[in-house]
Amino acid sequence: MTASKALRTEEFLVNMGPHHPSTHGVCRFLLTMDGEVVIKAVPYIGYLHRALEKICENRTYPQCLPVLDRFEYCTSMSCEYAFCLAVEKLAGIQAPERAEYLRIIMVELNRIASHLIWFGTTALDLGAITPFLYGFREREDILDLFEMTCGQRLTYNYIRIGGVSRDIPSQFIPKAKEFIDKFPSKIDDYVKLLNENPIWVVRNRNVGILPPELALSYGVSGPVLRGSGVKFDLRKDDPYSIYDRFEFDIPTGKYGDCYDRYLVRMAEMLQSTRIVKQALEQLPEGDIKAKVSPQFKPPKGEVYSRIENSRGEMGIYIQSPGDSKKPLRVKMRGGSYNHLQVMPEIVKGGKIADLVAVMASMDIIMPEVDR
């Protein structure tokens, strides 16, 4: 036997998912591995396909909202918000001032909650279990605020076409202010725990580098795009609603690696608290809902409306036939859909542990991909 024969190695296939602890739901990767090195990764999706778009076609516009809640359940508020904005654009409805502020408070709080889930699960994926519990502790406060307002903790159905479903209770503002005041110190705790941690840095620095050109060509958006150094935030660059009234910064990364994406998201949470703080101060009195009939029929037309969600651009395309109270077509576009597409490009040649790190830093959530 020659030496080359004795040392014959072969690649092998690993099915990572759909029930794997770090695929955040039901994503499946078919990995071609050479030992620990990932040679090729092919994502397979569709395990969570609930045909939300088809369901929406058979419902009236207000009835669509509970379905939209399930589109991306970590930020249900944003999904409702995107849909309501689209319908309002389509039908030319203007929500009252107070409702606009309430929406922004809710959406930004929801963004913090979503980023806290990301923070916890990312740390968990890299083997640090304790931050997960810390992140969920703070998220609990936000969920309490939501529960106080609309009675729900996950699928809110709070933002309605033309406004919001009900006004905030009287304890909401003091409680929210209390949270906003204490939250930055909690972020400091997280930063102390992870930012300078050498293990955390070597696991994330120079891992899963996403160059800005590749990111744009794949339609990558949100914190992932900003992590790659592209300063683009729909709240600033294509402002919708009343975002132009608030003062906040857009954090960006430099190298486009996992560590930059981590820093961007951590900074974004603080910026969201700034927005909420300003919104709470400026909150006017007044109506919370424009008059919209449950049976209303928007005029014939079509609209694609997009908002900045915690996971990137969330877009809703609606086509209204004009003579029906049901939409002809609702197409939902979530950020994760494109993030998952670009993943095979950037995990190639890395270790299996890098795949987990990249997936965590992309913050992919499967309901948004499968819909």
Partner: protein
């Protein structure tokens, strides 16, 4: 560039080949013919003043008479956004793949093919991904498709 300038610019850039629709409510909405798709995408992607570098969304629509494929595009650099669509008959619906311009179109097109049955030329990877691999019950997003256990609500 605001919406009127943008509309004017695009209409002047592609005279006769592009049509402004009045159905678009928020941003300009154009209609192009299916064989012009690739050229159109290439030129808006490379044009200095437009520089459309970001593909937001591709959505197919079944209007009950024919298919429409709606492309929502944007420019991250110039902060422009508009939509355009093309129409296809039910029989032999086929469009070009625009992956060479925006690689992210891959999955969007795959979805259009899988759920509507619109064939994508030069796609390279038309395999099922939202539906089961052995799916043989047609194209579920078409208006005339009903699941075997699906009860349609009567129109009021």
């Amino acid at each position: 560039m605001d919406h009127t300038e943008l509309t004017k610019y695009i209409l002047e850039k592609f005279p006769g080949k592009i049509e402004l629709l009045d159905t678009g409510k928020a941003e300009p909405f154009f209609k192009i013919s299916a064989d012009f798709l690739l050229d159109f995408c290439r030129s808006i992607h490379s044009d200095e003043k437009l520089f459309i570098d970001f593909l937001c969304n591709i959505g197919a629509v079944d209007t009950g008479k024919k298919f429409e494929v709606v492309y929502s595009v944007a420019s991250v650099k110039n902060h422009i956004r508009f939509d355009f669509k093309l129409e296809q008959e039910y029989e032999g619906a086929e469009i070009d793949s625009i992956q060479e311009i925006w690689a992210g179109a891959n999955w969007h097109e795959r979805e259009v093919w899988e759920l509507y049955g619109i064939n994508i030329r030069n796609h390279g990877n038309l395999t099922r991904f939202l539906l089961p691999d052995d799916w043989n019950q047609g194209f579920p997003m078409r208006k005339n498709w009903d699941a075997p256990d699906f009860v349609r609500m009567p129109e009021q």
